[in-house]
Protein backbone atom coordinates (compact mmCIF):
# COMPACT_ATOMS: atom_id res chain seq x y z
CA UNK A 1 0.00 0.00 0.00
CA UNK A 2 1.23 3.43 -0.81
CA UNK A 3 1.01 4.78 2.72
CA UNK A 4 3.23 1.95 3.90
CA UNK A 5 5.63 2.82 1.16
CA UNK A 6 5.81 6.32 2.60
CA UNK A 7 6.70 4.86 5.97
CA UNK A 8 9.47 2.84 4.38
CA UNK A 9 10.80 5.88 2.64
CA UNK A 10 10.85 7.75 5.91
CA UNK A 11 13.28 5.12 7.07
CA UNK A 12 11.94 5.10 10.58
CA UNK A 13 11.95 2.14 12.88
CA UNK A 14 10.06 2.62 16.09
CA UNK A 15 10.76 -0.04 18.66
CA UNK A 16 7.59 -1.33 20.19
CA UNK A 17 5.34 0.97 18.25
CA UNK A 18 3.38 -1.11 15.86
CA UNK A 19 2.02 0.76 12.94
CA UNK A 20 0.50 -2.25 11.32
CA UNK A 21 -2.91 -0.98 12.23
CA UNK A 22 -2.33 2.18 10.32
CA UNK A 23 -4.37 1.58 7.25
CA UNK A 24 -6.10 3.60 4.69
CA UNK A 25 -9.76 3.55 5.31
CA UNK A 26 -11.51 1.03 3.20
CA UNK A 27 -13.99 3.58 2.05
CA UNK A 28 -14.69 3.89 -1.58
CA UNK A 29 -15.90 7.03 -3.22
CA UNK A 30 -13.99 10.18 -3.83
CA UNK A 31 -14.54 10.90 -7.47
CA UNK A 32 -12.29 12.59 -9.93
CA UNK A 33 -11.30 16.17 -9.53
CA UNK A 34 -14.00 18.58 -10.45
CA UNK A 35 -13.23 21.06 -13.14
CA UNK A 36 -12.74 24.56 -11.90
CA UNK A 37 -15.61 26.95 -12.06
CA UNK A 38 -15.83 28.09 -15.64
CA UNK A 39 -18.64 30.56 -15.39
CA UNK A 40 -18.45 33.19 -18.09
CA UNK A 41 -17.27 36.65 -17.29
CA UNK A 42 -19.96 38.65 -15.65
CA UNK A 43 -21.28 41.44 -17.78
CA UNK A 44 -23.97 42.39 -15.34
CA UNK A 45 -23.98 44.84 -12.48
CA UNK A 46 -22.70 47.79 -14.39
CA UNK A 47 -22.67 50.56 -11.87
CA UNK A 48 -24.64 53.60 -13.06
CA UNK A 49 -21.81 55.90 -12.04
CA UNK A 50 -19.54 54.08 -14.44
CA UNK A 51 -21.87 54.81 -17.31
CA UNK A 52 -21.72 58.50 -16.59
CA UNK A 53 -17.97 58.57 -16.05
CA UNK A 54 -16.32 56.05 -18.31
CA UNK A 55 -12.69 55.04 -18.00
CA UNK A 56 -11.38 57.85 -15.87
CA UNK A 57 -13.75 57.08 -12.99
CA UNK A 58 -11.48 54.56 -11.30
CA UNK A 59 -8.28 54.70 -13.30
CA UNK A 60 -6.66 55.67 -16.50
CA UNK A 61 -4.08 53.96 -18.65
CA UNK A 62 -3.68 50.27 -19.23
CA UNK A 63 -1.13 49.26 -16.62
CA UNK A 64 -1.51 47.52 -13.30
CA UNK A 65 1.33 47.56 -10.81
CA UNK A 66 1.61 44.64 -8.40
CA UNK A 67 3.13 46.14 -5.30
CA UNK A 68 3.03 45.25 -1.60
CA UNK A 69 0.69 42.34 -2.31
CA UNK A 70 -1.89 44.55 -4.00
CA UNK A 71 -3.01 45.20 -7.56
CA UNK A 72 -2.98 48.91 -8.30
CA UNK A 73 -5.44 50.11 -9.35
CA UNK A 74 -7.69 47.37 -8.03
CA UNK A 75 -10.33 48.45 -10.55
CA UNK A 76 -9.08 49.34 -14.00
CA UNK A 77 -11.53 50.50 -16.67
CA UNK A 78 -10.43 50.31 -20.31
CA UNK A 79 -12.14 50.40 -23.71
CA UNK A 80 -12.50 47.15 -25.62
CA UNK A 81 -9.41 46.24 -27.61
CA UNK A 82 -7.01 47.48 -24.92
CA UNK A 83 -3.96 45.46 -23.96
CA UNK A 84 -3.49 45.59 -20.20
CA UNK A 85 -0.05 44.98 -18.72
CA UNK A 86 0.61 43.82 -15.17
CA UNK A 87 4.09 44.33 -13.72
CA UNK A 88 5.31 42.81 -10.45
CA UNK A 89 7.27 45.12 -8.20
CA UNK A 90 7.41 42.76 -5.20
CA UNK A 91 10.32 40.53 -4.22
CA UNK A 92 7.76 37.76 -3.85
CA UNK A 93 6.27 36.18 -6.97
CA UNK A 94 2.71 36.75 -8.12
CA UNK A 95 0.35 35.59 -10.84
CA UNK A 96 -2.65 37.08 -12.61
CA UNK A 97 -5.53 34.63 -12.90
CA UNK A 98 -9.02 35.51 -14.15
CA UNK A 99 -11.89 34.10 -12.14
CA UNK A 100 -13.36 32.70 -15.36
CA UNK A 101 -9.92 31.63 -16.64
CA UNK A 102 -10.08 34.14 -19.54
CA UNK A 103 -6.46 35.03 -18.84
CA UNK A 104 -3.73 33.54 -16.68
CA UNK A 105 -0.08 34.41 -16.29
CA UNK A 106 2.74 32.24 -15.10
CA UNK A 107 4.67 33.20 -11.98
CA UNK A 108 5.96 36.75 -12.29
CA UNK A 109 9.23 37.50 -10.54
CA UNK A 110 10.13 41.05 -9.58
CA UNK A 111 10.21 43.24 -12.69
CA UNK A 112 8.42 40.73 -14.91
CA UNK A 113 5.24 41.62 -16.78
CA UNK A 114 2.20 39.90 -18.25
CA UNK A 115 -0.10 41.36 -20.91
CA UNK A 116 -3.57 40.44 -22.14
CA UNK A 117 -5.70 42.05 -24.85
CA UNK A 118 -9.37 42.46 -23.97
CA UNK A 119 -11.49 41.87 -27.07
CA UNK A 120 -14.84 41.64 -25.31
CA UNK A 121 -16.59 44.07 -23.02
CA UNK A 122 -17.32 42.91 -19.53
CA UNK A 123 -16.21 42.89 -15.95
CA UNK A 124 -13.27 40.57 -15.28
CA UNK A 125 -12.50 39.64 -11.70
CA UNK A 126 -9.05 38.23 -11.16
CA UNK A 127 -6.67 37.26 -8.39
CA UNK A 128 -3.15 36.16 -7.70
CA UNK A 129 -3.27 32.36 -7.56
CA UNK A 130 -0.30 32.33 -5.20
CA UNK A 131 -1.96 34.84 -2.85
CA UNK A 132 -5.72 34.42 -3.36
CA UNK A 133 -6.50 37.33 -1.02
CA UNK A 134 -5.16 39.62 -3.76
CA UNK A 135 -8.24 40.36 -5.85
CA UNK A 136 -8.99 43.06 -8.43
CA UNK A 137 -11.13 43.78 -11.47
CA UNK A 138 -10.72 44.94 -15.04
CA UNK A 139 -13.84 46.56 -16.52
CA UNK A 140 -13.85 46.57 -20.32
CA UNK A 141 -16.26 49.02 -21.93
CA UNK A 142 -17.60 49.08 -25.50
Amino acid sequence: MDMNKKFTRAGAVIGGVALCGLLLSACSGGGAAQAADTAPASTTASVPADLGMPAAASSSGSSVLIDKYMFGPDKLTVPVGTTVTWTNNDADQHTVLAKDDTFRSGSLAKGQSFSFKFDRAGSYDYRCSIHPFMVATVVVTQ
Binding site: A10, G11, A12, L22, C27, I130, F133
Partner: protein, 309 residues
Protein backbone atom coordinates in the same frame (compact mmCIF):
# COMPACT_ATOMS: atom_id res chain seq x y z
CA UNK B 1 7.75 29.94 29.15
CA UNK B 2 4.31 30.99 28.19
CA UNK B 3 1.41 29.26 29.78
CA UNK B 4 -2.26 29.47 29.16
CA UNK B 5 -3.95 30.48 32.34
CA UNK B 6 -7.31 28.90 33.09
CA UNK B 7 -10.11 31.21 32.17
CA UNK B 8 -8.06 33.09 29.64
CA UNK B 9 -10.24 34.50 26.93
CA UNK B 10 -9.67 33.67 23.32
CA UNK B 11 -8.59 37.24 22.65
CA UNK B 12 -6.06 37.07 25.47
CA UNK B 13 -4.87 33.74 24.19
CA UNK B 14 -4.50 35.14 20.72
CA UNK B 15 -2.44 38.05 21.96
CA UNK B 16 -0.45 35.66 24.08
CA UNK B 17 0.08 33.13 21.38
CA UNK B 18 1.01 35.25 18.43
CA UNK B 19 4.70 36.00 18.20
CA UNK B 20 5.32 33.44 20.86
CA UNK B 21 8.73 34.55 21.91
CA UNK B 22 9.52 31.87 24.45
CA UNK B 23 10.90 28.40 24.09
CA UNK B 24 7.55 26.78 24.52
CA UNK B 25 3.94 27.67 24.23
CA UNK B 26 1.34 25.61 25.92
CA UNK B 27 -2.11 25.25 24.57
CA UNK B 28 -5.02 23.54 26.17
CA UNK B 29 -7.05 20.85 24.57
CA UNK B 30 -9.78 18.91 26.22
CA UNK B 31 -9.24 19.35 29.93
CA UNK B 32 -5.50 19.02 29.91
CA UNK B 33 -2.72 21.52 30.16
CA UNK B 34 0.68 20.23 29.28
CA UNK B 35 3.87 22.17 29.51
CA UNK B 36 7.37 21.10 28.77
CA UNK B 37 10.45 22.19 26.94
CA UNK B 38 11.68 20.79 23.70
CA UNK B 39 13.76 17.72 24.29
CA UNK B 40 11.49 16.65 27.06
CA UNK B 41 8.51 14.57 26.32
CA UNK B 42 4.84 14.77 26.91
CA UNK B 43 4.32 13.34 30.39
CA UNK B 44 3.26 9.76 30.28
CA UNK B 45 3.63 9.39 26.55
CA UNK B 46 6.91 7.52 26.65
CA UNK B 47 5.67 5.19 29.30
CA UNK B 48 2.46 4.49 27.44
CA UNK B 49 3.01 2.80 24.10
CA UNK B 50 -0.71 3.04 23.48
CA UNK B 51 -0.50 6.84 23.29
CA UNK B 52 -0.52 8.39 19.83
CA UNK B 53 2.26 10.89 19.41
CA UNK B 54 2.40 13.03 16.28
CA UNK B 55 4.08 16.20 15.08
CA UNK B 56 2.59 18.89 12.84
CA UNK B 57 4.80 21.10 10.71
CA UNK B 58 3.36 23.62 8.29
CA UNK B 59 3.89 26.25 5.65
CA UNK B 60 7.55 25.67 4.80
CA UNK B 61 7.15 27.70 1.56
CA UNK B 62 10.29 26.25 -0.01
CA UNK B 63 11.17 28.66 -2.82
CA UNK B 64 10.02 31.85 -1.08
CA UNK B 65 12.31 34.82 -1.57
CA UNK B 66 11.86 37.97 0.42
CA UNK B 67 13.11 39.86 3.43
CA UNK B 68 10.66 38.13 5.80
CA UNK B 69 12.88 35.04 5.62
CA UNK B 70 15.93 34.93 3.39
CA UNK B 71 16.54 31.24 4.14
CA UNK B 72 13.28 29.28 4.28
CA UNK B 73 15.17 26.10 3.42
CA UNK B 74 17.42 26.54 6.43
CA UNK B 75 14.43 27.21 8.67
CA UNK B 76 12.61 24.09 7.47
CA UNK B 77 15.77 22.02 7.96
CA UNK B 78 16.00 23.38 11.50
CA UNK B 79 12.36 22.47 12.16
CA UNK B 80 12.90 18.92 10.93
CA UNK B 81 16.05 18.66 13.05
CA UNK B 82 13.95 19.73 16.03
CA UNK B 83 11.50 16.92 15.28
CA UNK B 84 14.39 14.50 15.35
CA UNK B 85 15.45 15.82 18.76
CA UNK B 86 12.15 14.92 20.39
CA UNK B 87 12.55 12.15 22.95
CA UNK B 88 9.47 10.39 21.75
CA UNK B 89 9.65 9.42 18.11
CA UNK B 90 6.37 10.52 16.55
CA UNK B 91 4.06 7.93 15.08
CA UNK B 92 3.88 10.26 12.13
CA UNK B 93 4.69 13.79 11.02
CA UNK B 94 2.01 15.74 9.15
CA UNK B 95 2.89 18.71 6.98
CA UNK B 96 -0.27 20.79 6.65
CA UNK B 97 0.51 22.42 3.34
CA UNK B 98 2.31 25.14 1.48
CA UNK B 99 5.20 22.76 1.29
CA UNK B 100 6.44 24.86 -1.61
CA UNK B 101 6.00 28.50 -2.47
CA UNK B 102 5.51 28.20 -6.23
CA UNK B 103 4.68 24.55 -6.96
CA UNK B 104 7.73 23.89 -9.11
CA UNK B 105 8.95 20.29 -9.56
CA UNK B 106 12.32 21.25 -8.07
CA UNK B 107 10.64 22.68 -4.97
CA UNK B 108 8.46 19.58 -4.50
CA UNK B 109 11.51 17.38 -4.89
CA UNK B 110 13.42 19.41 -2.33
CA UNK B 111 10.65 19.10 0.25
CA UNK B 112 10.35 15.41 -0.49
CA UNK B 113 14.08 14.86 -0.02
CA UNK B 114 14.18 16.92 3.16
CA UNK B 115 11.26 15.10 4.75
CA UNK B 116 12.94 11.75 4.09
CA UNK B 117 15.33 12.72 6.86
CA UNK B 118 12.60 12.90 9.49
CA UNK B 119 12.69 10.26 12.17
CA UNK B 120 9.06 9.22 12.43
CA UNK B 121 6.79 6.31 11.77
CA UNK B 122 5.49 8.05 8.68
CA UNK B 123 5.32 11.33 6.86
CA UNK B 124 2.05 12.72 5.52
CA UNK B 125 1.03 15.91 3.80
CA UNK B 126 -1.95 17.94 2.62
CA UNK B 127 -1.53 20.57 -0.09
CA UNK B 128 -1.76 24.32 0.34
CA UNK B 129 -2.71 26.81 -2.36
CA UNK B 130 0.99 27.47 -2.94
CA UNK B 131 1.30 23.81 -3.90
CA UNK B 132 -1.30 24.27 -6.63
CA UNK B 133 -0.65 27.69 -8.11
CA UNK B 134 -1.05 26.64 -11.74
CA UNK B 135 -2.29 23.07 -12.06
CA UNK B 136 -5.01 22.24 -9.50
CA UNK B 137 -2.40 20.27 -7.56
CA UNK B 138 -1.24 17.84 -10.27
CA UNK B 139 2.48 18.29 -9.56
CA UNK B 140 1.82 18.01 -5.83
CA UNK B 141 -0.02 14.73 -6.29
CA UNK B 142 2.73 13.33 -8.52
CA UNK B 143 5.08 13.51 -5.53
CA UNK B 144 2.78 13.29 -2.51
CA UNK B 145 -0.53 11.93 -3.78
CA UNK B 146 0.10 8.20 -3.76
CA UNK B 147 -2.67 6.25 -2.10
CA UNK B 148 -5.01 9.21 -1.76
CA UNK B 149 -8.54 9.75 -3.00
CA UNK B 150 -9.89 12.43 -5.30
CA UNK B 151 -7.76 15.57 -5.20
CA UNK B 152 -5.52 14.10 -2.50
CA UNK B 153 -7.66 13.44 0.58
CA UNK B 154 -7.40 10.30 2.73
CA UNK B 155 -7.93 8.86 6.17
CA UNK B 156 -6.16 6.40 8.41
CA UNK B 157 -6.57 4.80 11.82
CA UNK B 158 -3.72 4.90 14.30
CA UNK B 159 -3.86 3.72 17.91
CA UNK B 160 -7.60 4.19 18.13
CA UNK B 161 -7.63 7.67 16.60
CA UNK B 162 -9.30 8.21 13.24
CA UNK B 163 -7.24 10.67 11.20
CA UNK B 164 -8.81 12.50 8.26
CA UNK B 165 -6.66 14.59 5.89
CA UNK B 166 -8.69 17.02 3.80
CA UNK B 167 -7.86 19.16 0.77
CA UNK B 168 -9.42 22.63 0.80
CA UNK B 169 -6.79 24.68 -1.03
CA UNK B 170 -7.25 23.79 -4.70
CA UNK B 171 -9.52 26.71 -5.29
CA UNK B 172 -9.91 29.69 -7.53
CA UNK B 173 -12.00 31.54 -4.99
CA UNK B 174 -10.77 33.52 -2.04
CA UNK B 175 -11.95 31.08 0.64
CA UNK B 176 -11.00 27.46 1.05
CA UNK B 177 -13.32 24.94 -0.54
CA UNK B 178 -13.83 21.21 -0.04
CA UNK B 179 -16.28 20.39 -2.80
CA UNK B 180 -19.17 17.95 -2.88
CA UNK B 181 -17.08 14.91 -3.89
CA UNK B 182 -14.90 15.30 -0.82
CA UNK B 183 -17.83 15.98 1.49
CA UNK B 184 -19.55 12.83 0.21
CA UNK B 185 -16.34 10.90 0.80
CA UNK B 186 -16.11 12.19 4.38
CA UNK B 187 -19.69 11.09 4.99
CA UNK B 188 -18.83 7.54 3.91
CA UNK B 189 -15.50 7.61 5.71
CA UNK B 190 -17.08 8.47 9.06
CA UNK B 191 -20.19 6.34 8.66
CA UNK B 192 -18.99 3.20 10.42
CA UNK B 193 -17.28 4.86 13.37
CA UNK B 194 -18.61 4.87 16.90
CA UNK B 195 -19.23 8.26 18.45
CA UNK B 196 -16.48 7.78 21.04
CA UNK B 197 -13.75 7.40 18.40
CA UNK B 198 -11.38 10.37 18.73
CA UNK B 199 -11.28 12.22 15.42
CA UNK B 200 -8.28 14.21 14.20
CA UNK B 201 -8.78 16.32 11.07
CA UNK B 202 -6.01 17.99 9.09
CA UNK B 203 -6.46 20.66 6.44
CA UNK B 204 -4.37 23.51 5.11
CA UNK B 205 -6.93 26.31 5.33
CA UNK B 206 -8.89 26.65 8.60
CA UNK B 207 -12.23 24.82 8.73
CA UNK B 208 -13.51 27.56 11.02
CA UNK B 209 -14.10 31.21 10.10
CA UNK B 210 -10.88 32.62 11.51
CA UNK B 211 -10.90 35.71 9.30
CA UNK B 212 -12.88 35.26 6.07
CA UNK B 213 -11.96 38.75 4.80
CA UNK B 214 -8.48 37.40 4.21
CA UNK B 215 -9.67 34.03 2.99
CA UNK B 216 -9.02 32.39 6.36
CA UNK B 217 -11.99 30.08 6.30
CA UNK B 218 -13.62 27.37 4.18
CA UNK B 219 -16.88 28.18 2.46
CA UNK B 220 -18.41 24.70 2.68
CA UNK B 221 -16.79 23.47 5.91
CA UNK B 222 -20.12 23.49 7.76
CA UNK B 223 -21.19 20.40 5.84
CA UNK B 224 -18.20 18.48 7.16
CA UNK B 225 -18.50 19.91 10.66
CA UNK B 226 -22.13 18.75 10.71
CA UNK B 227 -20.89 15.20 10.07
CA UNK B 228 -18.37 15.54 12.91
CA UNK B 229 -20.72 16.81 15.60
CA UNK B 230 -21.85 13.37 16.75
CA UNK B 231 -18.32 12.50 17.90
CA UNK B 232 -17.29 13.20 21.48
CA UNK B 233 -13.78 14.41 20.60
CA UNK B 234 -12.93 16.19 17.35
CA UNK B 235 -9.68 18.09 16.84
CA UNK B 236 -9.05 20.07 13.66
CA UNK B 237 -5.48 21.17 12.92
CA UNK B 238 -4.64 23.57 10.09
CA UNK B 239 -1.89 25.75 8.71
CA UNK B 240 -2.19 28.62 6.21
CA UNK B 241 -2.39 31.47 8.71
CA UNK B 242 1.21 31.19 9.99
CA UNK B 243 0.27 31.76 13.63
CA UNK B 244 -1.20 29.99 16.61
CA UNK B 245 -4.91 30.41 17.07
CA UNK B 246 -7.44 28.31 18.96
CA UNK B 247 -11.19 28.14 18.56
CA UNK B 248 -13.87 25.92 20.03
CA UNK B 249 -17.25 25.11 18.53
CA UNK B 250 -19.16 22.69 20.73
CA UNK B 251 -17.11 19.50 20.98
CA UNK B 252 -14.95 20.49 18.00
CA UNK B 253 -11.70 22.29 18.70
CA UNK B 254 -9.60 24.06 16.08
CA UNK B 255 -5.89 24.82 16.32
CA UNK B 256 -4.10 26.86 13.70
CA UNK B 257 -0.39 26.12 13.61
CA UNK B 258 2.51 28.41 13.01
CA UNK B 259 4.90 28.16 10.08
CA UNK B 260 8.51 27.29 9.51
CA UNK B 261 8.89 30.14 6.97
CA UNK B 262 7.68 33.64 7.94
CA UNK B 263 4.98 35.20 10.11
CA UNK B 264 1.75 36.77 8.87
CA UNK B 265 -0.11 39.53 10.69
CA UNK B 266 -2.83 38.94 13.22
CA UNK B 267 -6.32 38.83 11.70
CA UNK B 268 -7.26 42.26 10.37
CA UNK B 269 -3.98 43.86 11.38
CA UNK B 270 -2.97 45.76 8.25
CA UNK B 271 -4.16 45.71 4.65
CA UNK B 272 -3.66 42.01 4.04
CA UNK B 273 -1.98 38.78 5.11
CA UNK B 274 1.45 39.69 3.78
CA UNK B 275 4.80 38.33 5.01
CA UNK B 276 5.99 40.19 8.09
CA UNK B 277 9.63 41.12 8.45
CA UNK B 278 10.57 40.98 12.11
CA UNK B 279 13.43 42.77 13.83
CA UNK B 280 16.77 41.00 13.56
CA UNK B 281 16.96 37.86 15.65
CA UNK B 282 13.21 37.61 16.25
CA UNK B 283 12.23 35.40 13.34
CA UNK B 284 12.96 32.04 14.91
CA UNK B 285 10.65 32.88 17.79
CA UNK B 286 7.75 33.14 15.36
CA UNK B 287 8.47 29.78 13.72
CA UNK B 288 7.84 26.41 15.24
CA UNK B 289 6.63 22.84 15.32
CA UNK B 290 3.70 21.26 17.16
CA UNK B 291 3.43 18.06 19.18
CA UNK B 292 0.06 16.39 19.60
CA UNK B 293 -0.46 13.49 22.00
CA UNK B 294 -3.58 11.35 22.38
CA UNK B 295 -3.68 9.08 25.38
CA UNK B 296 -6.28 6.30 25.43
CA UNK B 297 -9.28 7.35 27.45
CA UNK B 298 -8.03 10.92 27.69
CA UNK B 299 -10.37 13.87 27.27
CA UNK B 300 -8.70 14.88 24.02
CA UNK B 301 -5.23 15.51 22.74
CA UNK B 302 -2.55 17.48 24.53
CA UNK B 303 -1.08 20.04 22.18
CA UNK B 304 2.26 21.75 22.65
CA UNK B 305 3.74 24.28 20.27
CA UNK B 306 7.50 24.82 20.27
CA UNK B 307 9.51 27.63 18.76
CA UNK B 308 12.53 26.50 16.79
CA UNK B 309 15.51 25.68 18.95
Amino acid sequence: MTETAPGMTRRQLLRHATWFGAAVVVTVAGAETISHVLGGSTPGAAADPAALHIVQVSDSHIGFTGPANTDVTGSFAKALADVNKLKVTPDFVMHTGDLTHLSTPAQFDQVHQMMKGVRAGGVFTVPGEHDAVDDHGDKYRQVFGAGTHGDGWYSLDVKGVHVVALVNSLILEKLGHLGQDQIDWVRQDLAGLSADTPILVFSHIPLFAMYPQWGWGTDDAMQVLALLRRFSSVTCLNGHVHQLFNYTDGRITFHSATTTAYPLPKPGDGPGPTPQTLPAGKLKDALGIREVTFRPGGPGPAIADHTLV
